[in-house]
Symmetry: C2
Subunit: 461 residues, 2 copies
């Protein structure tokens, strides 16, 4: 039984999720199975280093990861394929045929802000189950977190002006386009052009018109007239097919024709050229014609840096459409998120690989706020600690592979992001070289870490 | 009826593909529908500018795009959702309920090399159909082309050493992970760690072991022994969990134990540190132990530039595993691929937007080779031209929305990439600042372009 009211939108058929994994997860599982190694393990997922210019991260894809784990299985075709490779034993394949994920997951709720080194999700369970969770959980959380984070930066940069997601054609596939719409909405965007995402996630759909629409008419103004005839109360006319300023004059003419029919042109869209200069010219043309209600939308190559420059310069742009650069998180299309074993059979473990050291044991993140409610510091401690202060950030989400709390409603997750950002100081939200948020390690964890490090460096020949 | 022997792996259920579109495609279609605008249109898809340091592009995702167009439809839920928005008329929704893509598509075959400005795919059909194709075709072709291109650059850099795709956890979603495995295999990779991709596309699966496997045992050498016991003929031992050089000595011990049982250790894997120095140290340790058959695999942060440095330095690495940087095409996660109307109702059209000018009319790319079979120049001409020389690159793939040629077998597409690259001069394959391949415009196209430009600039008020 699932706690959600409708079946989740899985990225793959449930019976194929088992195979969406790196081969080594299955060969290691085969070895554990044959060796009779069935102890409990905990894996911790965290980001080792901030992507460039990031001062915080917005957790997204957590609920998709949990949905995938709840559904994870191997259908008959998957088992037959594995058999055909000749790598696996017959008894292990029988085990996989009945496999379901029986671990527990503690995670930060969708939309939580988190910081480098902090576990955002921990899986505890039989070592095979916890190992088989790795690839799909990483696959779902990493990029959605990057997309939500970059989108939140755009929202900050736009200082209240609405932003719409126009990225569908540029994301890495259709699944990524849906998740971009969702992640950016969580982060505070107002709408998406992606109709399927709008339907699935209840995001307001939005759109304007393309250059091709204009060029399929004999003249630009005929195209403007046809569109506003069809959508008299939601027309945004694209100005730059031939020349933006000429386009603005044509839009004025059409807006006046609309007024005489009792309608109002919603907006105009700039899609190329110098947005600062053009928006001022177009604003003046509109205002001179008494069309101060017509809004100016800008799209094309925008990201948080470009939006910030335009808003700082005072460009009269009322709404931004962002696509390419945000939809692929262009300046940070990947990040150093890892999934590391931190305990096995009750024994805390860590790795010492050069530059890739991990912290041992199941952990908790304790968040502290100042008297004004602003986030002041995080402490990473052991999951067993009960400090006198600090709000624990990880909550049990799956037990024995089943949801114990329902997936976040998208509206709640969106509110959670907004709340988090309102409590994070501007110094950590700065677009360039933000201050690092203070994250420290509890005394208990620190002690454990040095004990284990001592034991490991002594033991290694 | 479809020409392929088995149903294609669509990224979405067929009935949802219609909604995987930008809202404006549907509002423009509504306007065309209500205005009775039903002329034929041609849209041309091409890359306006090379991504940084790219001298060629490898077409990938073409077959997925064609599959999506062949399947494109609106299921009942989609129609009901569109009705609920209040944007569309009842008769248009009835039209969509029965909609199927009835256009024709001319495209370069999967795996073709192509260059900036060249149409890689053209859609001709009723304007609504051709317009509704835009988002999904762009979504599928753009990123797969980027992944195939970056992968081909890695293959060039590795100069014959095999490369495996390890990117599943870093790509933008599960769909992207499958397409990364496929695109990189097209480009010449030898294997993938992604088991579902291996099954779907018939790619050899590969893998080693993770640090977590090591840390779940009491000691590294116990982990090595257990793994090689399970997989005596396919063990690749991960050396860097605690210390790479110590790990190499442990691997030597295990390899000798394996020899006494009549087995051979396949390889060892380096995953952190200075690969050049470590590979030499590890090679020496292996060779000193008479284990010259044990291969060295390197993975972790690799891309074409890192591979090139290691190979140029003579690092004794036998195989590379690439993940993150290639799986997101890190230095070019998006490109300037566009889908532009070039003709409407038999009338060639173009746009003049600043820096975004398009070439009018349905086109063909004619590829020329020198007497040695090397590619010498491409000419972009009108689709109606029949020049005396040059191989036409675009072939009819869909007619009336149905395949007229079957999807490429992956082995054929892979061979097609290899053939293309072998005919492309090293100057255009250089990893940094490659020479631009000569692409010119035919006299007929050039004449048409200046006629239309003259007409448009005269006509615009």
């Amino acid at each position: 039984m699932t706690l959600s009211s409708q079946p989740p939108y899985l990225p793959l058929p449930a019976g194929e999720i088992g195979l969406l994994t790196d081969l080594y997860e299955l060969t290691m599982a085969q070895s554990y199975f044959s060796e009779g190694i069935a102890g409990g393990a905990t894996f911790s997922m965290y980001v080792r280093e901030y992507p460039p210019d990031r001062g915080y991260l917005v957790a997204a894809g957590i609920d998709d990861a949990l949905d995938c784990l709840e559904a994870l299985s191997f259908d008959t075709d998957s088992i037959e394929y594995l058999r055909s490779t000749g790598i696996f034993t017959a008894d292990f394949l029988e085990y996989l045929r009945d496999f379901r994920f029986t671990g527990s997951v503690r995670a930060m709720p969708e939309g939580s802000l988190f910081f480098a080194h902090e576990p955002v999700l921990e899986v505890t369970g039989p070592v095979i189950a916890a190992q088989l969770a790795e690839t799909i959980v990483m696959n779902q959380v990493q990029y959605q977190t990057l997309l939500a984070t970059k989108s939140a930066r755009c929202v900050d940069a736009a200082r209240g002006r609405p932003i719409a997601d126009f990225a569908a054609r540029r994301t890495h596939g259709s699944e990524a386009s849906l998740k971009m719409a969702r992640a950016s909405y969580l982060a505070g965007f107002g709408a998406t052009s992606n109709v399927l995402a709008a339907r699935r996630y209840g995001i307001p759909p939005t759109g304007t018109m393309a250059h091709s629409y204009i060029t399929s008419f004999d003249s630009e103004i005929e195209a403007f007239r046809a569109y506003s005839r069809m959508f008299p109360d939601r027309s945004i006319l694209l100005l730059d097919t031939y020349d933006t300023v000429n386009g603005a004059h044509a839009a004025v003419k059409v807006a006046r024709e609309m007024e005489s029919d009792g309608h109002r042109l919603t907006g105009v869209r700039l899609d190329s050229g110098d947005f600062d200069a053009l928006s001022r010219q177009v604003r003046r043309i509109l205002d001179d014609a008494g069309l101060n209600y017509v809004r100016i939308v800008a799209s094309g190559g925008l990201d948080e840096y470009a939006i910030d420059r335009l808003v700082s310069a005072g460009a009269p742009i009322d709404m931004f459409g962002v696509g390419t650069r945000v939809g692929v998180s262009a300046d940070a299309p990947s990040c150093d998120m890892v999934y590391k074993m931190v305990s096995y059979n009750g024994r805390p473990v860590m790795k010492l690989s050069e530059g890739k050291e991990s912290l041992p044991a199941a952990k908790q993140v304790f968040r502290h706020h100042d008297p004004q409610g602003m986030m002041s510091a995080d402490v990473i401690g052991l999951s067993t600690e009960t400090p006198s202060s600090g709000e624990p950030m990880l909550a049990l989400a799956l037990h024995d592979g089943r949801r114990v709390i329902p997936p976040s409603a998208i509206a709640d997750a969106r509110q959670h992001v907004a709340d988090g950002l309102s409590r994070l100081s501007p110094a950590h939200r700065r677009l360039r070289q933000p201050d690092h948020f203070p994250v420290s390690i509890s005394e208990e964890l620190s002690l454990l870490e040095s004990q284990i490090r001592g034991r490991l460096t002594a033991a290694v020949p």
